[in-house]
């Protein structure tokens, strides 16, 4: 079951870190970094059903 309720322990810090991680990268490098990050997080989640839910939601955020 995908968690959609607030779950970040430190939301502002995590968001700032995401932005900072991209600092100084070209757009192509940023896209590549995002791709690697998604793959790493996918593996952390692992569960195919949760991933499917997350991908559906990303494609259509109104489909909650």
């Amino acid at each position: 079951m995908l968690i959609t309720t607030p779950n970040l322990t430190r939301p502002d810090e995590s968001y700032a870190r995401l932005i900072a991680t991209h600092e100084g990268l070209s757009e192509a490098e940023s896209h590549a970094l995002n791709a690697r990050l998604i793959l790493i997080l996918m593996n952390h989640i692992g569960d195919e059903a949760v991933l499917a839910e997350a991908m559906l939601l990303a494609r259509d955020p109104s489909a909650v």
Partner: protein, 538 residues
């Protein structure tokens, strides 16, 4: 000779030269139980399996033997097990190159190695590499041996089918030979006439699917090289000979090299020897001495017929389904078609099983083809990404695979052929929840070492009732089918592969060595019911 049957390709082995058959002088067409069209690996295996089951079979081929060129190369364990049942595996194993280790590179970096070596306790290796003409020759040798023992198999070279006319109780064929045309009839026709299947076209049947917009160059080279016996695959290789490349060893000092060329190419130009040599030189380095053995350019296609049975015509192998080569799912899946079809057709011809048993061939092998097409399509999408974002994710996976083992599980340079489990088949009977999932009804029996020899070689030609940890009758019969009993003491391998949490087991095993049903005790009425189900009588 009055009529020319032009050769579409050069032969590697002339195996069944044209000889005039009495059928050609018959005033009314002679009707045969089974006619196979096509003399490739699938046609030969079909004739061999049917003949060994006592079904009179005539094979028609417009050539007189095995065509030149390596073509199908990697033969999987299940194929070898099936060929062993057919008496053809030993020379294949002796001639073939066994390999277990694969290496995956990106640019000039070795990302990781993988070992295909399966668990211990199997008679056959995961794969052998063997050129297709040799595979065909060994099947033909087994046909000659079976004929000597009385198997009713007849091979007719330079017999080209020009027309096919289905009727209610037979199929009529117009055949052209060097001595002119003749007519012949088949109660059952098995179309093993390849990807471009003339029979499929004559019957106006579709072959839908997908063409991948990419070209691949095969350059088989002969060289004395000390590269190890491994499968090497490069994504975006540093030597720039293609968008991906593959190096694989064959017998006779031949190496399979495969380059991905892209979509918009000039085929004729790319096949010029000088141009091929430039690519090979870049890959192997300047000091390697080699000669070009066989070259070809192909595009990936994934297609299948909607149904493999059309009344009395049954399609098997590439005529029924086509996949991209990465994964070795072409010839291997065709051999599984044969394995599935021959025993069913034999029981129908003998009048033991109803014709609808053949519908289960269609259902089970369409299921197999779907699985192969899915795997093949996914591998192809990984090797040749279709969009910029797809390529970005592909390369992100490769970037992580060097250091993170999880990413290696996503790298897909072909998921190598595994036998199909017929989940949900109408032929499947009772299951037992405590027993291992890998041997559930529909699964191919995994091999296991016994005191003497191997489990699979102890299974019968027909149905087998296998008891592990309990005695089953040596022979039983039901519904006109003989059932061979095999009682075995548990071993660690049998325990792991067949018992799981159960203390003893009874397995009903089909003639193609797939599990039909299983129990933890012997109930002869339940066995008889499962047997009826497995031959389509229920």
């Amino acid at each position: 000779m009055k009529h020319d049957i032009p050769e579409r390709y050069t032969l590697a082995f002339r195996l069944y030269p044209y000889a005039k058959s009495p059928d050609q002088d018959a005033t009314t067409p002679v009707r045969h139980k089974a006619v196979v069209v096509g003399g490739g690996p699938i046609g030969l295996a079909t004739a061999l399996d049917l003949g060994r089951r006592g079904v009179p079979v005539v094979l028609l081929d417009d050539h007189e033997g095995a065509g030149l060129g390596s073509r199908a190369l990697c033969f999987a364990k299940r194929t070898l097990e099936i060929c062993d049942r057919l008496g053809a595996a030993k020379p294949m194993l002796a001639k073939g190159v066994q390999w277990n280790l694969g290496k995956v590179f990106h640019d000039d970096r070795l990302l990781y190695e993988f070992n295909l070596l399966p668990e211990g306790g199997h008679a056959f290796p995961a794969f052998i590499n063997l050129q297709q003409p040799w595979f065909e020759k060994f099947l033909h040798d087994a046909i000659v041996a079976a004929q000597a023992e009385g198997a009713p198999i007849e091979l007719r070279g330079k017999n080209r089918v020009d027309a096919v006319t289905p009727a209610a109780d037979h199929v009529a064929l117009d055949v052209m030979t060097p001595d002119g045309p003749y007519k012949v009839e088949a109660e059952w026709l098995i179309a093993c006439d390849g990807a471009r299947s003339p029979l499929r076209n004559m019957l106006g049947l579709g072959f839908d699917g997908r063409v991948f917009e990419d070209n691949f160059l095969i350059a088989d080279v002969k060289m004395k090289a000390d590269f190890p016996t491994e499968r090497w695959f490069w994504f975006e290789p540093h030597f720039k000979s293609g968008d991906s490349a593959l190096l694989h060893k064959q017998p006779d000092d031949i190496w399979r090299i495969d380059f991905q060329l892209g979509w918009n190419i000039d085929r004729a130009k790319e096949l010029e020897p000088a141009r091929i040599r430039a690519r090979v030189d870049a890959m192997l380095g300047p000091d390697v001495d080699y000669e070009l053995d066989w070259c070809s350019i192909y595009t990936f296609q994934c297609r299948r017929m909607e149904r493999f049975r059309h009344g009395r015509v049954l399609f098997a192998g590439d005529s029924a389904h086509l996949v991209s080569p990465f994964g070795a799912r072409g010839a291997n899946s065709g051999v599984q078609d044969v394995d599935n079809l021959a025993w069913k057709l034999a029981l129908v011809v003998e009048g033991v099983a109803p014709e609808r048993l053949l519908d289960s061939y269609d259902a089970e092998r369409v299921h197999g083809a779907e699985e192969n097409i899915l795997n093949s399509t996914r591998a192809t999408d990984f090797i040749t990404p279709k969009t910029p974002v797809s390529k970005m994710f592909r390369n992100a996976v490769l970037a992580l695979a060097g250091s993170l083992p999880f990413a290696r599980t996503v790298v897909n340079s072909g998921r190598l052929s595994m036998p199909c489990t017929y989940d949900g088949s109408v032929l499947n009977g009772a299951d037992h929840p405590a027993m291992p999932a890998r041997t559930r009804p529909g699964s191919p029996c995994p091999d296991a070492p016994l005191d003497r020899g191997w489990l699979l070689s102890r299974l019968g030609r027909g149905f087998t009732l296998m008891g592990i940890g309990l005695e089953v009758p040596k022979a039983m019969a039901g519904h006109g089918v003989a059932l061979e009993g095999l009682s075995l003491a548990p071993t660690p391998e049998l325990g792991a592969r067949y018992l799981g949490g159960a203390e003893r087991a009874v397995y009903l095993i089909r003639p193609d060595q797939h599990v039909a049903a299983r129990w933890d005790h012997l109930d002869e009425a339940a066995v008889a019911a499962a047997l009826a189900r497995a031959i389509g009588k229920e």
